[in-house]
């Protein structure tokens, strides 16, 4: 992670607090996953929450035990659940993070039916379920309750969600230094007030 502790050019725009835009400049270029992982480490270190990334599932074909259990043939499997889950303020949290390169919409084709099914079940059992959706070119990340995305996925003919809808329905996640993405601040607002 590249940090600019001093001398950050003030890129503040109207409606955006100065602090947020400054941190954003330092964060820029860091992938969504890295920012979430660093945020989860921060939350863990501060004893705010225990949220972990599920390892990528891999199907192992061959292991060479003569080299101390070295995997010599394997392939990636589709994640049948979501990338992240954990516990926060005694509640179960489950979410998926997706980045869109498009400026005006979020394509639904990188969400799998299995993930939708998984999140529906999580909601059924009283868990908190949401998506973090990044518009990379805008440097904005929104938190949307899973129910909204599920409804879109199941009942809408469109293959993508317009940016304006996400902006209206979702909540903008604060971009800071530590944590890089303070999504639990949004969780507090949405689920604990």
């Amino acid at each position: 992670m590249i940090k600019y502790p001093n001398g950050i050019p003030n890129q503040a725009k109207e409606k955006m607090p100065v602090k947020v835009k400054q941190a954003s400049a330092a964060n820029r270029g860091m992938g969504l996953e890295s920012r979430i992982n660093l945020s989860n480490e921060y939350y863990h270190d501060k004893n705010h929450a225990v949220i972990t990334k599920r390892p990528t599932p891999i199907n192992i074909v061959k292991v060479d035990y003569t080299k101390g259990a070295r995997i010599t043939d394997a392939y990636f499997e589709k994640q049948s659940t979501t990338d992240y889950n954990g516990v926060y303020r005694s509640r179960y949290l489950d979410f998926e993070a997706k980045s869109s390169k498009l400026k005006t919409s979020f394509p639904l084709n990188n969400i799998y039916p299995h993930q939708i099914d998984h999140l529906r079940h999580v909601l059924d059992h009283g868990g908190i379920a949401f998506f973090l959706i990044e518009f990379a070119s805008r440097d904005e990340v929104y938190l949307l309750d899973a129910s909204y995305i599920i409804a879109y996925f199941l009942h809408n003919e469109r293959k993508s969600i317009p940016y304006e809808d996400i902006k209206k329905t979702g909540r903008l996640v604060p971009v800071l230094y530590h944590p890089p993405l303070d999504y639990l601040a949004v969780v507090d607002e949405m689920y604990f007030k």
Copy 2:
């Protein structure tokens, strides 16, 4: 899984319900992990809970993209958390499953300090945390609250927990056909009454 719908020899012993011992005969030989995975599938299908196994973390060294992203060099990493977590009756559940080949004790050396640390944090945040400990030669699985194992791990000089202590402190998990290990029945008793 081998099923014997009819004609199961009655292996019931005193103090053990007939049903449990019959199912146990069918289950015998199935590994602890397989039995838990099948139980989790059962719970999922019946919409009782969403509990999943975290994939084994693997460190990928080399990927051959000419073969469609085939992994040609990788190695296993230690699980820094636990094997299972999920949501049940609106609560966060997190547990580790371990099998002992010994008849009279459970060795503590196959629990990692990272896992203890993880489970302490889960308890701090209001999650339900426990161990499922199998005595393979006895065909018995016990559920023990994580706090008990944590205390043993941190404060006891012994390198193992005697079977008699586990039997006294833990609760025997019913061995059935479907699910093979009904550990949520024990969770109901311990955490929801």
